[in-house]
């Protein structure tokens, strides 16, 4: 236990890397996931097919296998060879999470009742007005809870890159556990609390947003 506290800077550094991974992968996943969701609800059948194929394939593949593609297979092909590990981690986690973000956003659009769009047309709103004032605001609000759980799961998933040589929190816990075999429980609790803090921060933010944006139904 003394080992962890006398080297607490290493713990903080590891969580800082976890936070960097989570923020960057989250941004990547949001951008890509929004594009996928737009393709899935859009009018062009081919794009709908492409997006739903991507979502189905990626959702059913373990993140670890996606990491094998990014960390081992791609460099063999001469892609992503000189890229830092952090970027590779972001690519893997981002590509994986995008599929779930797309589903979360789509569920938001589906939560808006068709009758509301019809009513908006009936009172003479144009397509743009209908989107801006009726459909999209509600879709965004309805997406907050599923999006938050996606981001929480993603933050926990950043631990998978520990397998591929990034010294983030999970890899750092293994390092401490290797050095202090008698203290595994205490070390585990320290790192678990770190993750719990991150998870709670995201869910508090989500609850706050949800309260503020609560749509009258």
């Amino acid at each position: 236990m003394d080992d962890v506290f006398s080297h607490f800077d290493l713990v903080l550094k590891a969580f800082w890397l976890t936070i960097q991974l989570a923020v960057l992968s989250g941004l990547t996943a949001m951008v890509l996931g929004t594009a996928l969701a737009a393709m899935r609800v859009g009018p062009i059948a081919v794009l709908r097919g492409v997006a739903s194929t991507y979502v189905t394939l990626v959702r059913n593949t373990p993140l670890l296998v996606i990491c094998i593609f990014v960390f081992f297979a791609a460099p063999n092909l001469g892609v992503l060879t000189g890229t830092p590990f952090l970027v590779k981690g972001v690519v893997a986690v981002g590509l994986y999470t995008a599929a779930f973000v797309a589903e979360a956003l789509r569920s938001g659009v589906n939560a808006v009742d068709l009758g509301q769009a019809e009513a908006a047309r009936a009172v003479g709103m144009t397509f743009g007005q209908n989107m801006r004032h009726v459909v999209l605001p509600q879709a965004f609000r309805a997406s907050v809870p599923p999006l938050a759980s996606t981001l929480i799961a993603m933050t926990k998933n950043t631990s998978v890159v520990a397998v591929f040589g990034l010294m983030e929190a999970t890899a750092r816990m293994r390092y401490f556990v290797n050095r202090n075999a008698d203290d595994t429980i205490a070390i585990f609790i320290v790192f678990a609390i770190g993750y719990i803090i991150l998870v709670e921060l995201i869910s508090l933010a989500a609850v706050g947003l949800e309260r503020r944006w609560k749509a009258a139904r």
Partner: protein, 292 residues
């Protein structure tokens, strides 16, 4: 696109325009696929030699028996334990006794917020190594704790979803609390839970891949052995692994959908995705399907 909240039903001109877009994007997608195939071919990745092991009986058997079968075993063992864990702690969270309720809530929230890999490493290095129970059971225990706490939440939601009048009626005819739970609420909750349990199998199956880090048996372990033996075949091995996982998971998804129709009806599935959240019941609306 009739029935979409985003678009009006298209008129003839819009239909034509959409057809044009469809053809154009179709060509672009085709070009991308052809480009990818040509790129892989130019790198020699499509050569028969790099795929030969996957049509060799000895290696197919290794993949299916030592890989897939072990993976399925680990996943199903942990889901069965997870259901037990989930029922115990789900009932515990509904208990009338405050200490029991708090203890169960604490346990469930804790294991849900901690990454499975962290849990797996901890279990393995604490009790799995040396004379311990080994990597296989470390994976099973870690997955049981995680999936069990997700299922506890699902179970609790399932019990709460049974109309209140049923419990009241049961009390009215003189049943005790235990009887109400075991004879009235529990069977119905399990019925509502079934599709969620199957979906959780998908999650468990994907998470068994993490056993790679603690050298537990399973698909990813065999994969590593294969690309070590045939160096430079990471891409091919990863494609085969992904294919196997996707195939099994799609079957499970079909089963879950069928059970949903059969037992729960058209009602919305109990949202496993939402239960990833640690805060309040308010968050349990909307739907994102399975958790990561």
């Amino acid at each position: 696109m009739t029935g979409s909240v985003l678009f009006d039903s298209p008129g003839p001109r819009t239909v034509l325009r959409h057809r044009l877009y469809t053809v154009l994007t179709g060509l672009a997608v085709l070009a991308a696929v052809v480009g990818l195939v040509l790129f892989l071919d130019s790198k020699g990745e499509l050569a028969y030699g790099k795929w030969e092991q996957f049509v060799t009986p000895k290696y197919i058997r290794a993949l299916l028996v030592d890989g897939l079968l072990k993976t399925l075993q680990m996943a199903f063992t942990s889901v069965i334990f997870a259901v037990i864990f989930g029922v115990v702690f789900g009932v515990g969270k509904l208990s009338d006794h405050r200490p029991v309720r708090w203890l169960c809530t604490l346990v469930v929230e804790f294991f849900r917020a901690v990454p499975v890999l962290l849990l797996m490493i901890f279990v393995f290095f604490s009790w799995g190594v040396g004379d311990g129970f080994g990597a296989y059971w470390s994976v099973v225990i870690a997955l049981t704790l995680y999936n069990g706490s997700v299922l506890a939440e699902v179970f609790r939601a399932g019990v709460l979803a049974v109309p209140k009048g049923q419990a009241e009626a049961a009390y009215a005819i003189g049943m005790r609390k235990t009887q109400v739970m075991t004879l009235v609420l529990l069977p119905q909750a399990v019925k509502i839970m079934l599709p969620a349990i199957i979906s959780q199998c998908v999650v468990a199956l994907k998470d068994t891949s993490l056993g790679y880090y603690i050298t537990a048996p399973g698909l990813t372990y065999i994969g590593k052995a294969m690309w070590t033996e045939f160096s430079g075949t990471h891409l091919q091995t990863a494609i085969v692994l992904a294919f196997l996982y996707i195939a099994v998971n799609l079957v499970l998804t079909v089963v879950a959908t069928w059970l949903q129709k059969r037992f729960v009806g058209e009602r919305k599935q109990l949202d496993v995705g939402m239960t990833a959240l640690t805060v309040t019941g308010e968050m349990r609306q909307g739907g994102a399907g399975q958790i990561l």
